[in-house]
Amino acid sequence: MEAKPFSDISYEQFLNEDKLMGSRCKKCGALFVPPRSICIKCYGSEMEWVEMKGKGKLAAFTVISIGPPFMMEEGYDRKNPYCSGVVDLEEGARVDARIEGLDTTKPETIRIGIPLTAQFLHRGEGEKMTTFLAFKPS
């Protein structure tokens, strides 16, 4: 695991293994999720992998009626809109994720700040597997 490059590709591979991973700068301790190979705080380039606990709070969200083709293919449309959001992780980083388990027909009832737990939505198998990071109410 230590040998993996601190890249988007590694981030996605970890998601396939149900792991939400970030990188921490060995010099200044700054945490980045998804990982960065260059620290944008101190420009250090020595990083280490850190696994997130997968707990957080909803920072912002939207409920989308007209989505891109890959979401439409999953059965989302005007009648069945989906939620995408920004989640503040316990560890202090912020991530973009799909938000599951909320009543998307009543977006006005969704509250910012609700506690959330990570979920890994796998699509396809083997070499072709891809995983969407999602969160659902804890």
Binding site: F61, S65, I66, P68, E108
Partner: protein, 421 residues
Amino acid sequence: MQKKRKLGRGVAVVGAGMSKFAMYPDKDSKDLFAEAFNEMRSSVDKGLEPNDIDALYVGNFTNDFFMHQGHWGPIISDLIGLAPKPATRTEGACAASALAFREGVFAIASGFYDIVLVSGVEEMSKRPTAEVTEGLALASVPYESRVGFTFPGVFGAIATDYFAKYGATRDHLMNVTIKSHNNARLNPKAQFNMTISDLMKARIERAKKKGEPVPEWKDEKEALWDPRFNPQVAWPMYLYDCCPISDGAACMLLVAEEIAKNFTDNPLHVIGIGQGSGRGLHAAPSLTSFEANKNAAAEAYGMSGLTPKDIQFAEVHDCFSMAELIHIEDLGFFEEGTGFKAVEEGLTRLDGPMPINTSGGLKCKGHPVGATGIGQLIEVWKQLRGEAGERQIPKKDLHIGAAQNLGGTGGTCTVTILERR
């Protein structure tokens, strides 16, 4: 602290022209550019010999995706008889032509060229909406599009944080939309020349004619709350919070300040230019402010020696109603978290103390993405020269205006300040 920046020599705007922004089934990028170019020529008070233009910059975002053609510099330079002189395409998503403007300014300020045409063009409407959405997503933040965010979705998410922090609601966003439509009705170049009331009346007439149930709305907001009139796109962004799909072209003639009098006795001076870059929602310091905006504004104010109070009116990039609130705060016209109140109080109306988007904004003037940046500056040009017709700002002694252009979801922002002396 921003370093104080200045141009090597002064640059002036001496001509401007644009096509009407609209959906054109029978016109292409070249046709629209020719319209803009001809209008620009006739706007140069003392005339322009097109042969005297030294170079062309043309902003464009999505034509390579939609038209399968990306090499617009030479196509446009050939169209207007400029070839073999240099022609360069600039790309900055929806801020593409504001970047063309900057490059033109730098080319003259450096002393290399004296007369430069800066422009933008975009052709979007011939494709189905789903494909246009996919094309615009070329400028998305990859981490966001990966989890289903669309452009309206990103601004929707920004709105949920803004609402929670400051107590604004959808009702406040509607004030932005209603104002944009009111201004656009006075702009013959706007894609939508109708107020919300006009659109409601048209809808009622249509229902009567077709024998369908006739909607009963007591006012504009009641219609905007009605999902049959105004359906959800991405909570809390509804149809009337979103700019349309448009085709259009716009261009401006820039010259070295010392030769401006050869073209007009009424030039505008480029006194501030700024640009910034930004990151996605997950990495940005705030969800309700664009760091690219702040950087662009700091550069432009720093160069001009002005403060936000000195700006008398502005065009800002209202791709979504929510964006207008963020911009008027980021540029310092109103305190953070108070933009929605300022709009509610009418402060940003045409006859208010700080008119915003007198053209109707992207929402109603239209948003042919690569032409928008110059299109905004043309509104500043018209207002400062007293040529804005029915929508002329009634303020006395109008001499300083600004335009703010945004690319993607805040990845590129520019601020440009023009002055009439």
